[in-house]
Symmetry: C2
Subunit: 376 residues, 2 copies
């Protein structure tokens, strides 16, 4: 890679173990030795305090190729490495940059967003080249990728700058608009009319933008409305609560979650009438609704959501085969429920069920404030 | 790739959208046209039933390069493609195999484990080559990767067949032993003594093997002991319940989960004394213990787990900064709690807190039956 590229980025291999050899390889290619970087070593000792004695392997993590610079790692022991050096290529030596970044995503991502982004911007500036690529993602639920591709066909095929592309995960479609310009402001100006056109055509399905999720959008809308939510889950086993509370500030809108896995838990925790359980079965619209109203009552919240279903791989019956899910929403406007049938394994059925509940909740929140169709 | 390889595998680009061009590219390289595969089209129509009308884009998903074979996709609309054909290389035409697999993991993985694994075995058999690579992963919690690498140093450096390698995620270390032989039985025989040696040295940290997780191992051990578990979560927001219930059959051991996000929920749902909350604060050993005993009592379960902490990014104080976590376990032997301080973002603090609770629970289960130190 150094033969043909000005800059080479490596990811991983900075850990403390025998097969972490990235720095060794880089040092060897440039004919340098590895030397301990004292500030990095101090940071490692500091980090390890109270977690056991640093081993010789930890000391290796503080080594850098001679002349390289350590990139501080706020989330792990291994610093990154920046080496700017002459590389002995075939036609004579050439200036090269090597960046060695840590592999764990929670260490890698902050380093890229921080040090590396700044370094690259300065590097490109020094070459007199500056092109800004700006992307905007609109996120849709309740529709499918091929329907979206169909509705945006002319924009996808005709789009040069910005370009449009769709990406899909089960239950979730992303429309990504990407503009290229010489400044952020200019790119933004190219993006905006296309975003507005996509919103005009598909606004009813768009729940959020960029890094938002169905759950974070629900928390955002609940907070904006000053409303609260309680959740009662059976087959999803806490997944919906986990998604909702993953959003910082969720405690302003999310009051409680109950994972009522057994009939007894449904009765005790949520006040579901044992007769309803007996007559309709645990996987039924009636039980989903009783769970939703029970959670709402227990928390005194604006809304209650109830989910019950058969996630599989076993537990299905003729009437409620594996993949059957009932979700219910209870709120000031009353209680409603819907049934769905999903394919896929246990994990996928659970994910789809939690998504379905959020789509059903979103319908309530949209009608409560005309949310979700305006741009921005 | 076709110039230098007998077989080329592509992943992705089989979807319904304009930029899904894998089959077009393969057809073009081999000078073939795309033709609709009727059985695949029937399967797509069948799958779409009740989910809206198939679009022309869906029809493209049923197209195959002429002479190719569709690989049925049980989890999505796009079939995979197997093309065995002569490739017009520079030195004359050569036999080649192209496999086009779908990108979504839930479609890709079953196809690889099913059709592709079988096809590859037959393909290698037809070449008279057969080498079995067998891996065994031992999973450890409560210790660190560099400690493990240190304790296994001689096996890692000296190991030729089997080889040993360590992999780490926050709070979790994997030791992978890999043997190479001409049969599974022979590879197994090479693996076993090394696995036993690793267990002898590190058994107290090993919670499971291969695809087990801390949570699935907890469910396995609870079921083996005929014991049950209830969980009360605050900062983890349902994550621990979600992990536990992700295991098929969890309902035999997991009774209920309570996500008590607000003080009111802790009081109502779990019977935490409001005075304890006032005196010690929501993030305290006392509240973690009260949550654990409250969940245990509400469910009438053998064990109760309580988690409270500050996941961040805000909400920290001088006494309980962001990353402070208390976990408690209540059981027949009494109630214990421990405090930890984690770095990292909200998601990582939550994950570490849930892991910590499972490690604490594991200590109880190990002492309840001497589990976890025997091989197998």
């Amino acid at each position: 890679a150094l033969e043909r590229s000005d800059m080479v980025v490596t990811i991983g291999g900075l850990g403390p173990t025998e097969d972490d050899l990235t720095k060794e390889a880089v040092a060897q290619v440039f004919g340098r030795t590895l030397v301990v970087d004292d500030p990095s070593w101090q940071r490692i000792v500091e980090r390890m305090r109270g977690r056991g004695r640093p081993t010789p392997n930890n000391r290796r993590q503080a080594e850098l190729p001679e002349g390289a610079r350590a990139i501080p790692n706020a989330h792990g022991t291994a610093p990154g490495v920046l080496l700017e050096a002459e590389y002995p290529a075939q036609g004579g030596s050439v200036p090269r940059v090597v960046l060695c970044l840590p592999g764990p995503p929670n260490e890698f991502e902050p380093m890229v967003r921080g040090f590396v982004a700044e370094y690259l911007e300065a590097y490109c500036g020094s070459l007199g080249q500056r092109t800004v690529l700006l992307s905007r993602s609109l996120r849709l639920a309740g529709t499918g990728e091929s329907q979206v591709a169909h509705d945006l066909h002319d924009l996808i095929v005709g789009g040069q700058n910005p370009t449009l592309a769709t990406y899909a995960k089960p239950g979730d479609v992303e429309v990504r608009i990407t503009a290229r310009a010489s400044s952020s402001a200019e790119a933004q100006e190219l993006l905006l009319p296309v975003e507005e056109e996509v919103r005009r055509r598909l606004g009813r399905w768009i729940y959020g933008a960029d890094h938002e999720t169905l759950a974070s959008a629900a928390i955002r809308d609940l907070l904006a409305l000053g409303r609260t939510l309680a959740v009662a889950e059976s087959c999803t086993g806490g997944l919906l609560s986990e998604w909702l509370t993953a959003t910082p500030g969720a405690s302003g809108a999310f009051t409680l979650g109950a994972v009522a896995y057994t009939p007894a838990a449904k009765t005790t925790l949520l006040g579901v009438d044992p007769r309803v359980l007996r007559e309709h079965g645990a996987v039924s619209a009636e039980v989903a609704e009783a769970m939703a109203t029970g959670a709402r009552a227990a928390a005194g919240s604006t809304y209650g959501v109830g989910i019950t279903g058969v996630a599989g791989p076993t537990g299905g019956s003729e009437l409620t085969p594996v993949g059957t899910v009932f979700v219910a929403v209870a709120g000031p406007e009353g209680t409603t429920s819907e049934r769905a049938q999903y394919g896929g394994d246990r994990a996928l059925v659970r994910r789809r069920a939690a998504q379905q509940a959020l789509v059903a909740l979103r319908a309530r929140l949209v009608s409560a404030q005309g949310l979700g169709t305006s741009p921005g």
